[in-house]
């Protein structure tokens, strides 16, 4: 038996302090993590051909190409256009995710339920839906949508919106439950129903945190939209894949810089907003 609390096993502790310390809390966690990594290493087929034949040369080529960026105006225009497509999918997906995530979050917070039973049903039911939405990676969603409804911007937007609404809904539910209770009970004593308490109390109080989290997710949405290329959806990632296939590494680096720049820009924007919102 592992010693959980400090008082329950004073005797055994005093006998062999060190060995028991190792088997509780962080000591145990460290051992487990090291063991897990060691196990995972055994599943790698270590052999000479773990490196790609000619891999070192390819690596040198790729790294060398960083000094021969393709900065020709037509290519820059192409890159900018691809970047805008990525942004458009990310933004449209985010708006849809917000539209889905807010009602789902409200339902899964259980704040509207008048009876205990209704609360249980709404919380566990919607929480399950949210959990399933976010369990599946957005690219898997994208692939499923592409097969189901074909290549189109709408497939990209839906593929982004579904998992993101699952994440947003979960966080929104937590925030809505965590607001201060006194103003709410005061609203109730003014005769407000739970729905009006939500409108006049919970939502206004939770809004800064919700907006802050949404802006953080927006940053992630840009990255996600960029990789949708893999299933054939347009954007920066699609161009990167085309250039990689043609072995035009200079173009690849230009596009990567566009992507990193875009992400950094949104990162700066979102952290500026979040600093204001939190203080």
């Amino acid at each position: 038996m592992r010693c959980g609390s400090s008082t329950s096993c004073v005797d055994s502790r005093s006998m062999s302090l060190i060995s028991f310390r190792l088997l509780e809390g962080r000591g145990l966690l460290t051992l487990l993590l090291l063991g897990a990594v060691a196990w995972s290493l055994t599943s790698v087929p270590w052999s000479r051909d773990i490196l790609h034949p000619g891999g070192a040369r390819a690596l040198a080529q790729i790294l060398g190409a960083i000094f021969s960026l393709d900065l020709s105006p037509p290519f820059l225009r192409l890159a900018a256009e691809a970047a805008w497509t990525t942004v458009a999918y990310a933004v449209a997906g985010m708006t849809l995710a917000l539209g889905l995530g807010l009602p789902l979050g409200i339902l899964s917070s259980g704040v509207l339920a008048e009876s205990r039973w209704a609360r249980w049903a709404s919380v566990s039911g919607v929480r399950f839906i949210l959990g399933s939405l976010r369990s599946v990676h957005e690219l898997v969603w994208a692939w499923l949508f592409v097969v189901a409804i074909g290549f189109s911007p709408i497939a990209a937007v839906l593929a982004l919106a579904l998992p993101y609404s699952g994440i947003l809904g979960r966080i929104f539910a937590e925030v809505l439950n965590d607001v201060r209770q006194e103003p709410l009970s005061s609203l109730r004593s003014s005769g407000a129903s739970e729905l009006k308490v939500l409108l006049y109390g919970r939502l206004p109080m939770a809004l800064p945190d919700m907006a802050s989290y949404a802006f953080y997710r927006f940053e992630c949405a840009i990255r996600s939209a960029a990789i949708f290329s893999f299933v054939g959806i347009a954007g920066l990632g699609y161009q990167i894949q085309l250039s990689l296939d043609d072995l035009l590494y200079g173009q690849v680096w230009t596009l990567l810089l566009f992507l990193v720049g875009l992400v950094a820009l949104v990162d700066l924007w979102s952290s500026a907003v979040r600093r204001r919102l939190v203080s």
Partner: protein, 291 residues
């Protein structure tokens, strides 16, 4: 807030001002309007297709195939072979996620200190020097780049060098997560209470001793918690990286998709969901140990 100044201030600020937050919300609204316009009218959006009957018939057929009641039958779900194969791939996928988390965590553990601003400025002990400033700038840049490039894109680059497989996928995942973990753990150090470290130095501890006794014990639990959170994200992404890095469930998913064996795809999705839920539970349990 005192009474009089606010009354004075109030008369002026009764009109809403355009601050960073409202400007950003407005900016996002404009971006959203532009994006939707571009998507809906900038070419074929695919929205019209959503209202066509054949789209729905096709989608319905796809879903029936996925759950094994469609035209391709229930083959994958009934064969013991496909289950054992999927189980083996699931274990590979799990190994890939653990390896990725391990590499990213080890990398972050080795580099998070010099990347913390207060460490670089010498506030935690040691002298402020250009020699400490250079690693700070370099590491922060490294974090930004590794973090900025998605896992899948790292995978596309890495398979030029490494043979497709568990290691290549794990490396791709590790690179991206290294950037995230490095940034997060450097921020942990920046937000640390500096007093224990100062007290240790006052008691005559060397730099290394200050780190070992004053800083790392404070920062480590938070770092482990972040690592476990990232593991939950990594397991979801492992499948995606597997598409290109060819390890685990991802490769099989891609093959089954291209052979239109949607019943197999459905089976793999089931395994994927089991893995995701299992890792979420394991991570929650392990996080309790980290506290």
């Amino acid at each position: 807030m005192s009474h009089k100044p606010t009354a004075h201030h109030g008369a002026r600020s009764s009109r809403p001002r355009l601050d960073v937050v409202s400007a950003s919300v407005l900016g996002f609204a404009i971006l959203a309007a532009g994006s939707w316009t571009y998507i809906l009218w900038g070419g074929d959006s695919g929205l019209a297709g959503l209202f066509r009957q054949e789209t729905w018939r096709g989608a319905g057929g796809f879903v029936r195939d996925l759950v094994g009641t469609g035209s391709s039958g229930t083959a994958a779900y009934l064969e013991a072979d496909s289950w054992t194969n999927a189980a083996r791939l699931s274990i590979d996928t799990l190994a890939m996620s653990v390896l990725a988390a391990g590499i990213a965590g080890a990398g972050a553990l080795l580099t998070f200190l010099p990347a913390a601003r207060n460490f670089a400025l010498g506030e935690l002990g040691g002298a402020r020097s250009v020699a400490a400033g250079a690693p700070y700038v370099a590491l922060r840049g490294l974090f930004a780049i590794t973090r900025g490039v998605p896992e899948l894109m790292w995978a596309m680059l890495i398979i030029f060098v490494f043979s497709p497989g568990v290691l290549a996928g794990a490396l791709a995942l590790a690179l991206h997560n290294y950037g995230i973990l490095g940034k997060l753990s450097a921020e942990v150090v920046e937000n640390l209470d500096p007093r224990p470290a100062r007290a240790l130095r006052a008691a005559g501890a060397s730099n290394a001793q200050t780190l070992l006794y004053g800083i790392i014990p404070q920062a480590l639990p938070q770092l482990l918690t972040y690592l476990l959170y990232r593991w939950e994200v990594i397991i979801r992404t492992t499948v995606v990286v597997g598409f290109v890095a060819a390890g685990g469930l991802g490769r099989e998913f891609r093959l089954s998709m291209s052979y239109l064996h949607y019943d197999e795809v459905g089976l793999l999705l089931v395994c994927y969901l089991v893995l995701v839920v299992g890792v979420d539970l394991a991570s929650a349990g392990l996080r309790r140990l980290a506290r």
